[in-house]
């Protein structure tokens, strides 16, 4: 099976709160020094899902990402996990791209890759928490989409996908080619083996420019449909009143009293 997995690099979501700062002029998060970007966790699981399918059915996994300097590290990590090939779409100012521009660039790159059976993406990126690129990409490619998968079972010419829903789960059947987005319920992404890291280090990762994938940067397709007017970090902090005492029963009694006084019971 020919699988294309799209990954995105993001600011480490486990970043300590003190390192999270916003440039109010540029409406951007200031990249913290010494903390490198990571593969978006759900995208790492999309790579994992691709590897699990390859183990069952064989095939080839191509990693696609948009990015600048640090993109190569991300792709190499995915190759070290076991993916076969990587491509970087070199996009100017890829941080400012919205879901539609991102999906458009990916769709053009996928057309250049050529033959594919399955496109995998993470369910949402842990920076903008938008969760739209996968669905929009499927629309642009004219293929069916299944979102938020926790298990993907390949059959001949089709897939069954168990997906997360608010009420529980659904099992869906979809013909190939298709796009599936992967949710955190899939499990854990594997850690690259030593051998994986060595082979990945030797692989060529071609970079494609916009003209390479037939994109005219001046066409309106890359401009954001919704303008970011302001990015702010409103403090959600509260003033914590510490309840103390000599023995637990005393503290519990005081705490219960204070909760009652707040009239929230």
């Amino acid at each position: 099976m020919e699988i294309i997995t799209c990954i995105k690099q993001i600011l480490d979501p486990d970043l300590p709160p003190a390192k999270f700062t916003i440039d109010a002029q540029k409406n951007r998060v200031i990249p913290p020094e010494g903390i490198p970007p990571v593969i978006n966790p759900d995208d790492a699981l999309a790579v994992e899902a691709a590897l699990r399918i390859k183990e069952k059915k064989g095939g080839r996994i191509t990693i696609l990402t948009l990015g600048g300097k640090t993109a190569e590290d991300m792709v190499r990590k995915a190759l070290a996990m076991g993916a076969d090939e990587g491509r970087i779409i070199s996009a100017p100012d890829f941080e400012g791209l919205d879901s539609f521009a991102t999906a458009y660039l990916l769709s053009q790159a996928i057309r250049k890759v050529g033959k594919f059976d399955l496109v995998l993406c993470g369910r949402q990126a842990a920076d903008w928490d938008f969760g739209a690129v996968g669905s929009v990409l499927a629309e642009f490619l004219g293929i069916p989409a299944v979102t938020r998968a926790k298990e993907i079972s390949p059959l001949d010419g089709k897939l069954t996908v168990e997906k997360v829903s608010i009420a529980g789960s659904e099992t869906l059947e979809v013909g190939l080619p298709a796009l599936v987005t992967v949710s955190n319920e899939l499990g854990k992404a594997r850690i690259p083996s030593g051998w994986g890291i060595i082979t990945a280090a030797k692989k060529e990762i071609p970079t494609w420019s916009l003209p390479d994938i037939g994109v005219d940067p001046s066409s309106g397709k890359l401009s954001a449909r919704n303008k970011l007017l302001k990015l702010s970090a409103p403090s959600m902090e509260r003033k914590c009143e510490w309840v103390k005492g000599d023995v637990p029963a005393e503290v519990a009694e005081k705490l219960a009293q204070k909760i009652m006084e707040k009239k929230v019971l």
Partner: protein, 332 residues
């Protein structure tokens, strides 16, 4: 806005009643149009939807479209995308609102792609800016660490999904008048590419967390299923629901339905008791609307304390039984 008028709310039914998110969206839409003369339309899906049309009008709809074709009775993303896209092309709303639900998450991006529309997912506020003919959308980003304010462009439909409990429903008015329009057509069969083989409801939580006034929740610090018995006991004494963070759910100590936070449920209780919860940003974002937050944690540096009104530094094994006893006496 070039030809675009009014607001379309994509409604949802759950267990043969109108979903609370739909009432919230109608309330929010009403507030947005009440300055002008624009209409609020509601779309309801399925063979069983007709009896709810009147209720939709009572909650603020001027016009209710009922898609009665059997293909809309069970949610299918392909069918629903086809229908919403088709209706938007016919009525050209300036704004289309959906819940940040299974339906909205799936259908909003796909319809936006087809309509060349603007899109904002998971909004916590939508307001109108009459001077520039723009809608303003506020949405949490970076796991709730920041808030992004997005402007909607001119001359295109704006599609938003809205987080539950972000908009206030109106009190129903029994004498409100409105129009009911039946949409008999089904989707183009060739547009249905995904087939549902099986639906499974998970173990039902005893309480609906999103509606709960009192929640006692446990985190990774609870250490296992056994510890959660204590959490349940405290919740029972307080007459509240039990919640959890991502760790207990990932470790399978509690069902997924109990998860509170960015990837789980967003709650807004009067009282939130956080036991053994470290306070990751993605969890805080799900509880910040609580009126009173109480944290119990043995680590005095736990992040959760920064977001709490009352704090007790103690091992939950000691603190929770003591608190159960204290409340038993007080609430007698």
């Amino acid at each position: 806005m070039a030809g675009e008028h009014g607001i379309l709310v994509v409604g949802e039914l759950e267990e043969s009643k109108m979903a609370s998110i739909t009432k919230e969206l109608l309330g929010g839409a009403r507030k947005l149009v009440d300055h002008g003369n624009e209409e609020v339309s509601l779309l309801l899906l399925g063979e069983k939807a007709a009896p709810f049309a009147q209720e939709g009008i009572q909650y603020g709809a001027d016009k209710v479209y009922i898609a009665v074709h059997p293909s809309f009775s069970e949610f299918n993303s392909d069918a629903c995308t086809f229908l919403v896209n088709d209706l938007c092309r016919k009525i050209r709303p300036s704004l289309c609102l959906m819940g940040q639900t299974d339906l909205g998450r799936d259908v909003a991006p796909r319809v936006a792609a087809r309509l060349d529309a603007g899109l904002c997912m998971d909004c916590v506020e939508v307001s109108a800016d009459s001077e520039q003919w723009l809608y303003l959308q506020a949405r949490p980003v970076y796991g709730g660490r920041a808030l992004a304010m997005m402007g909607s462009g001119e001359g295109r439909i704006q599609i938003n999904t809205v987080r539950p409990k972000s908009m206030a429903p109106l009190s129903p008015q029994a004498d409100r008048k409105g129009e009911i329009v039946k949409v008999p057509e089904g989707p183009d069969p060739s547009s249905i590419k995904v087939k549902c083989l099986k639906r499974e409801a998970q173990e039902k939580a005893e309480f609906n967390l999103e509606e709960a006034k009192i929640i006692v929740a446990g985190g990774g610090g609870i250490g296992g299923t056994e510890g959660f018995q204590k959490i349940k006991e405290l919740a029972k004494v307080l007459g509240g629901a039990v919640g959890a963070t991502r760790v207990p759910v990932d470790e399978k100590w509690t069902p997924l339905s109990m998860e509170i936070g960015q990837t789980g449920k967003i709650v807004s209780p009067d009282l939130y008791v956080a036991v053994g919860i470290s306070g990751a940003a993605q969890h805080i974002t799900g509880v910040q609307k609580a009126k009173c937050i109480v944290a119990i944690n043995k680590d005095p540096d736990a992040n959760m304390f920064k977001f709490s009104d009352l704090g007790w530094v103690a091992d939950y094994r000691v603190a929770v039984p003591a608190l159960i006893e204290a409340f038993k006496k007080k609430l007698q």
